[in-house]
C-alpha cells in the first residue's frame, strides 16, 4: 500500500516526542476524525532549532509528521511557512490516493505551531490554508 519511504518514516519516525517548555505548540486534527498531530518547536534566531511531534493516526499521518519535522528543521520561520502538505507528500514519494485527502495535516501542524510562537510574541499572522478535503469530515 505505502511505498518504502513512507514505511521507513512510519516504522522509524524522526523527532518523536514533546519538547519541554516549547516556544510554539501546534495541534491540528481531531481524534474523532482519526488523526491528530501535536508539534512542539524550539525557535532560535528566527529558525526552527528543534521540533518534535506526537501523532494519533494511521500510517500516513505518522509518516507525514515525521517527514515534516525533517523538512522544516533548521529552516527560517518564513521558509517553514512555505512548506505545504503537498510538498510533504511529495517528499515521501507520494501517498496512496485514498490517503491524500486525509491524514496529511503535518505541514498545517507546523504552521499552527509557528503561529502560536508569533502569538506569544504579540504578533498575529494569518496562515494560508491549503486546498485539501480534510474539512469534508464535517466534525
Amino acid at each position: 500500500m505505502y511505498n518504502e519511504k513512507v514505511m521507513d518514516h512510519f516504522f522509524n519516525p524522526r523527532n518523536v516526542g514533546e519538547l519541554e517548555n516549547p516556544d510554539g505548540v501546534g495541534q491540528v486534527g481531531n481524534p474523532v476524525c482519526g488523526d491528530m498531530m501535536r508539534i512542539t518547536l524550539r525557535i532560535k534566531d528566527n529558525r526552527i532549532e528543534d521540533i518534535k511531534f506526537r501523532t494519533f493516526g494511521c500510517g500516513a499521518a505518522i509518516a507525514t509528521s515525521s517527514m515534516v519535522t525533517e523538512l522544516v528543521k533548521g529552516l527560517t520561520l518564513e521558509e517553514a511557512l512555505e512548506v505545504s502538505n503537498k510538498q510533504v507528500a511529495e517528499s515521501l514519494g507520494g501517498l496512496p490516493p485514498q490517503k491524500l485527502h486525509c491524514s496529511n495535516l503535518a505541514a498545517e501542524a507546523v504552521h499552527a505551531a509557528i503561529q502560536d510562537y508569533y502569538k506569544k510574541q504579540g504578533i498575529d499572522i494569518e496562515i494560508k490554508t491549503e486546498e485539501h478535503e480534510h474539512q469534508e469530515h464535517g466534525h
Binding site: E4, M7, V16, Q27, P31, V32, C33, F56, S103
Partner: protein
C-alpha cells in the same frame, strides 16, 4: 515489502476477511478447469459432467444449512446473494407493501442495498443494537407495520462476532406474514444452522469464508418464495440467476461446505478456546483495552478489542511487519472517513472506534499463534502510545 523484515512467524488472523482454499477443496476443483471444463448447459459429455458435479455440490451446500438442493441459488458471492435476496424480494413484493426492516449493524452488502432501495422509494427502518451489538427481537416486532414486506437481520456479526437471536426474529416475522432474510456469511460452518428450525425464508452464504474459493456464494430461498431475478439472461439456476455457472467454484464451495459441516462441532470448540485465551490475554497484557461484542453470544472465531489512544491502521502495519494479519474498524483501513458503523451503533466514541482490532481465528491457528500475538502486541502498543498525543502520559 522491504520494510517487513523476515518475521519469525506468519500468523494469519483475518479469517473473517477471507480464508485459504483448503487442499481437499482445491483437489476437488482441479479436474474442472481443464479436463471436465464443459458448460453445464451443453448437450454432450463435457456438459453432462459439469451438470452432475453442480448437482452434487448443490446437495452439499444445502446440507450445511439443512435445506433442499432446489432451495439453493448459486451466486458470485455473499454480496450478490444479499443483493438478490433484498432487491429480489423488494421488487417481487412491491405491490404488497413499501416498508423494509433491517438493522444498523449489517454488512455493507446489506446496508448499502437497503439504502439503494430507499432511493428507489422504499421506506426502511434500521433497528438499533445494544452495547454488545445484540439486536432485541422486540425492536423488530415494534418496527413491523401493515406494509412491511421484508425483515433482514444478520446471523453472526462480522466485525464484533455477536450472534443475533435469529430464531426469535424469524418467528416474529412469520407471525406477521413478513419474509425473513438473514446474512449467515460469518456464522455458516462456525455454528449450526437449520433454516427450518430458525424460521428463515432467505439466507446468504459465501464460499471464501469457509475455505472454499472466492467468487461463489449462495442464496437459500425457501420453497415457494418468489423473487425477482437481478441478473437476467440464460435459464440458469432455475431462471433465478443467469450466467454460465462457475463450475470449479461451485464444486469447491460444495466440498468446503461438506467439510465445514463434518468438522463443525470439534472445530467450534477448539476455536472458542483459542478465542477466549486471546481475549483474556489481551485484556490482561495491555492496559486500556476493551472487548467489543457480546462476551458469550459470540462466534467461536471472533476477537474484537478497542485499543484506546491509538488508531487501528498504525497497529495493523506493525502487526503485519511481525507477520501477523488482522483487521480494524478504523476509517483509514476502508478508505472512508467514518470508522465502523457497527462500533458506532454499539455506542463507542469515534475515537475509540478508530482504534479497534479484529482477530479472526481459523483452521491453521494454534495456541502458539495466540501466544505470539500476546508477545508482540504489547510492545507495539507501547511504542505507538508513546507517539500518541492522547492518553495518560501524553500530557493532555
Amino acid at each position: 515489502m522491504s520494510s517487513q523484515p523476515n518475521a519469525q512467524r506468519q500468523v494469519y488472523l483475518d479469517h473473517s476477511a477471507t480464508t485459504p482454499v483448503r487442499p481437499e477443496v482445491l483437489a476437488a476443483m482441479l479436474p474442472y478447469f481443464a479436463g471436465k471444463f464443459g458448460n453445464a448447459s451443453s448437450v454432450h459429455r463435457w456438459g453432462y459432467a459439469a451438470r452432475e458435479a453442480i448437482n452434487d455440490a448443490r446437495e452439499k451446500v444445502a446440507s450445511l444449512i439443512e435445506a433442499s438442493p432446489n432451495e439453493i441459488i448459486f451466486t458470485s458471492g455473499g454480496t450478490e446473494a444479499d443483493n438478490l435476496a433484498i432487491r429480489g424480494i423488494a421488487h417481487a413484493r412491491k405491490s404488497k407493501g413499501n416498508h423494509l426492516i433491517t438493522s444498523q449493524i449489517e454488512h455493507h452488502a446489506v446496508l448499502h442495498t437497503f439504502e439503494a432501495l430507499q432511493k428507489e422509494g422504499f421506506e426502511v427502518t434500521f433497528v438499533p443494537c445494544d452495547k454488545y451489538g445484540l439486536i432485541d427481537p422486540d425492536d423488530v416486532r415494534r418496527a413491523i407495520r401493515k406494509d412491511t414486506i421484508l425483515v433482514s437481520i444478520m446471523h453472526g456479526q462480522n466485525e464484533v462476532g455477536t450472534v443475533e437471536p435469529i430464531k426469535q426474529i424469524g418467528e416474529i416475522a412469520r407471525e406477521h406474514g413478513v419474509l425473513f432474510h438473514t446474512d449467515a456469511v460469518q456464522s455458516a460452518g462456525k455454528i449450526p444452522i437449520d433454516v427450518k428450525d430458525m424460521n428463515v425464508d432467505l439466507l446468504t452464504l459465501s464460499s471464501h469464508k469457509i475455505y472454499g474459493p472466492k467468487g461463489v456464494g449462495a442464496l437459500y430461498v425457501r420453497r415457494g418464495v418468489r423473487l425477482t431475478p437481478q441478473v437476467t439472461g440464460g435459464a440458469h439456476e432455475r431462471m433465478r440467476r443467469a450466467g454460465t455457472e462457475n463450475v470449479p467454484g461451485i464444486i469447491g464451495f460444495g466440498e468446503a461446505s461438506r467439510l465445514a459441516k463434518a468438522e463443525l462441532p470439534e472445530e467450534a470448540e477448539r476455536l472458542s478456546k483459542l478465542r477466549d485465551k486471546l481475549i483474556e490475554g489481551l485484556l490482561r497484557e495491555i492496559p486500556d483495552v476493551a472487548l467489543n461484542g457480546h462476551p458469550v453470544l459470540r462466534l467461536p472465531h471472533n476477537v474484537n478489542v478497542s485499543v484506546k489512544y491509538l488508531e487501528g491502521e498504525s497497529i495493523l502495519l506493525n502487526l503485519d511487519r511481525m507477520g501477523v494479519a488482522a483487521s480494524s474498524g478504523s476509517a483509514c483501513t476502508s478508505g472512508s472517513l467514518e470508522p465502523s458503523h457497527v462500533l458506532l451503533a454499539m455506542g463507542l466514541s469515534h475515537e475509540t472506534a478508530h482504534g479497534s482490532l479484529r482477530f479472526s481465528l481459523g483452521m491453521s491457528n494454534t495456541e502458539e499463534d495466540v501466544d505470539y500475538v500476546l508477545e508482540i502486541l504489547p510492545p507495539i502498543v507501547g511504542k505507538l502510545r508513546a507517539m500518541s498525543p492522547l492518553g495518560p502520559g501524553s500530557g493532555l
